[in-house]
């Protein structure tokens, strides 16, 4: 029974996590200007290691978000070595994140849904 639940959970999570990387990147750069390593670390820590991302994937995503104007960057010195790109949300990025959260995340905080999501209620 436990094996079945683990397998099903794993399959569900695999599908669930698809499409979440953009939100985590937005949250990371909303938290403050960050370079790629810091964004990766933020995502891994704040998602409690449920979201793992490759650096290449982050670069690719950031290039696209920069191209559409949702994020921008400024060059700054790293702790060691060459200059790094510190990414931050633009006005467009902030608006986009706000609207996305309003439409897709905040509904989980409505009293009815919040009550259903409470673990004690479901157990």
């Amino acid at each position: 029974m436990n094996n079945l639940i683990d397998e099903l959970l794993s399959a569900w999570e695999e599908t669930y996590k698809k499409g979440q990387l953009t939100l985590w990147i937005f949250l990371a750069v909303k938290d403050g200007k960050k370079y790629v390593d810091e964004i990766k670390l933020f995502i891994e820590i704040e998602s409690k290691h449920t979201i793992q991302c490759e650096e290449q994937s982050l670069y690719r995503n950031l290039r696209k978000l920069h191209h559409i104007g949702a994020v921008d960057f400024e060059s700054g010195k790293g702790h060691k070595g060459p200059e790094r790109k510190y990414y931050y949300l633009t006005a467009l990025g902030k608006d986009l994140l706000t609207k996305f959260v309003e439409r897709n995340i905040q509904l989980f905080f409505s009293p009815n849904i919040a009550k259903l999501l409470t673990m004690e209620e479901t157990l």
């Binding site: 953009t22 696209k64 191209h67």
Partner: protein, 139 residues
């Protein structure tokens, strides 16, 4: 334009080099009346251009998946080939067996194909935001 990446510049530079070499060898083989080698050279040129486009297109797409990429690579190839070939004739570098009228006809046919490709790009472009397909922006 920030969507002109180093991969596209690299592709264009390589196309210039390959095309100059192609034109030089083409003239040489035609002057020697080595017609079989001319056909082999043309096939090799096609394979080289296709491989170059494939490699740089893949790299450029991984870097930034803009919808116009394939059309751009096609356009660069057309412009570079036509310009070098035109220059080849104008500078009298072409061999006696090379015909300017054939070049003009070939260029016209290629231009029609290029315009069809542009039409396909425009159709594809309707589902893009700032040049990136809507389905490719977010992951």
């Amino acid at each position: 334009m920030k969507s002109i990446t180093t991969y596209q510049i690299g592709f264009a530079a390589l196309v210039i080099g390959i095309t100059i070499l192609f034109r030089y060898l083409l003239t040489f083989f035609l002057n020697q009346q080595q017609y079989v080698l001319t056909w082999i050279l043309a096939a090799l040129y096609f394979v080289c251009m296709f491989s170059t486009g494939w490699y740089f297109g893949k790299k450029a797409n991984q870097s930034l998946p803009i919808a116009s990429l394939t059309f751009r690579l096609h356009l660069y190839t057309f412009v570079i080939f036509s310009f070098i070939s035109l220059l080849w004739f104008k500078l009298n570098l072409a061999g006696v067996h090379e015909n300017f009228e054939s070049f003009k006809t070939g260029t016209f046919i290629w231009l029609v194909i290029l315009l069809l490709h542009f039409g396909m790009y425009l159709l594809k472009g309707r589902n893009t935001i700032k040049g990136i397909a809507k389905t490719d922006i977010f992951e």
